[in-house]
Amino acid sequence: MSLDIAEGETVALVGANGAGKTTLLRTIAGAHSPHAGTITFDGADITRVPTYKRVSLGIALVPEGRKLFPDLTVEENLLVAGKHARPGRWDVAAVVEAFPLLAPLLGKRASALSGGEQQATAIGRALMTNPRLLLLDEVSLGLAPVAVDLLYDSLQRLIAEGATVLLVEQDLTRAMSTAGRVVCMLEGRLVLDGRAESFSRDEVTAAYFGLHRRDGTSTSSVPA
């Protein structure tokens, strides 16, 4: 597959489980090495750059399942990320401002937080690195709808400030209302790519299940 993202874009990456969305995000962040192909960031080929160096380039991933450091406090989680941050406006105070629910929780162990609090911390942690490209993997997974609402409110503010975001999201409605562009993956390939408003929900769902092929050929078997 080939994907181009322009600065300031918000791209929603959708697709069924196993389509390869998390793998793609992790490959961009450097956690996986691609078998073939290249990743270019801001004109430079970063395919061989080790994981920990990509943060200084400006790539930050909020991993699936949040992956906070359980025995570190919220503040310590943030500070670990902050140590290798690029210069920028994000620090602990800014994160608390963006996610006010974290204010009383700074000294609390990450393992003791609720799902929504953990997710906020995880996003805040990625932000601490002052990223140019923010990769979000299933941030609404396992959260109560109210928590997801709060999260997306904060996300909208970030997007409004001009962040470049690539987010993986199972909830199609949310994805299409948050992002300017929608990309759908199926079995490791791109099957849909375009402006969010140019697709109906049904069209995206069809692409999700492989009923809509980019090359125009007829369908293969449809999973239940």
């Binding site: 080790p50 920990y52 200084s56 992956k67 450091f69 025995d71 310590e76 290798h84 990625a126």
Partner: protein, 292 residues
């Protein structure tokens, strides 16, 4: 009163065991590696001090100062070259490579220095034999108090490092989730290297005091490793202060065993260790990750 004396001596001995065990505990906490060459590294540290003393007539406490950076560098290299590769291959390989390393170190020491027993008690001067006489049956050896104090200081310092400093935080984070730490910009290999360097340096200090308190010979390593490991297990894996308690319990077990019969001293320690292993809790402190 001799029993009280035995307990006091045991506590002092425990300080040495805690110092020995500290590095082992750190490496396990951060990397989940048990370095089977740890005892030999401590002995190597003592021999390096001897080398320094061969060239300059100073106190061993001064001689150890140049040895420390050498050992730290060696530890860092050991991690980057050998242990890092072992980590990728699963849990078996680090045990096997460090065991091989242990054999190499022991035999190289025997080759370079003779199999003779060496001691730093003499060069250390009067402090090696001084003691405070409390009662006619109770005395506190100066060197024992020094080692215990040093053990507490080093453990405290390490705890502070881990809890309050940036690099320490990174180390704890990497210990808990290496992959995620890397995604946040932490160079995990460098963190591991630092942990090994610290562990090796502390082991060298322990080796120094081992040689002052008693003696070393090229094959003393494995015995010290067993004691260090026993201290860590008794105190509970992953807790630095547990290592101190574990060392003290082991030391006291050995000295009380010795009171009953000198031949029983090491055996007593082993039996306490096995008893702790057999107990449901498996350790005085619960197993926790490297954390405050």
């Amino acid at each position: 009163m001799t029993w009280v004396n035995a307990v006091v001596q045991g506590i002092m001995l425990g300080g040495l065991y805690a110092l020995l065990a500290c590095g082992l505990s750190l490496m396990f906490g951060v990397m989940r590696i048990i370095n089977l060459a740890h005892g030999d590294i401590a002995v190597l540290g003592a021999y390096l001090v001897l080398v320094v003393l061969d060239h300059w007539h100073v106190s061993p406490f001064i001689a150890v100062l140049p040895v420390l950076p050498v050992m730290m560098l060696a530890g860092y290299v050991l991690q980057r070259l050998v242990l890092d590769r072992s980590l990728k291959s699963g849990l078996l390989v680090p045990l096997l490579t460090t065991f091989g390393l242990s054999i190499v170190i022991q035999n190289l020491l025997q080759e370079k220095f003779s199999p003779d027993v060496r001691s730093l008690g003499g060069p250390a001067g009067s402090i090696a034999t001084a003691s405070w006489q409390i009662t006619s049956q109770l005395s506190i050896p100066a060197i024992g108090a020094l080692v215990l104090g040093l053990a507490i200081a080093i453990l405290g310092g390490l705890q502070f490092f881990l809890a309050r400093t940036g690099p320490g935080r990174e180390m704890r984070a990497t210990a808990q989730d290496r992959d995620t730490a890397e995604l946040l910009g932490v160079n995990a290999r460098a963190v591991y290297g630092r942990a090994t360097a610290i562990a090796v340096a502390i082991a060298a200090v322990a080796g120094l005091f081992l040689a002052i308190r008693s003696s070393v010979e090229p094959f003393s390593g494995p015995t010290q490793l067993i004691f260090a490991f026993e201290a860590v297990v008794i105190g509970g894996f992953g807790s630095l202060w547990g290592t101190l308690i574990g060392g003290i319990v082991l030391g006291v077990a050995q000295t009380i065993g010795a009171q009953i019969d000198p031949q029983y001293s090491v055996l007593a320690g082993h039996l306490v260790f096995l008893a702790v292993l057999a107990s449901p809790r498996g350790g005085i402190f619960r197993v926790r990750r490297v954390a405050t």
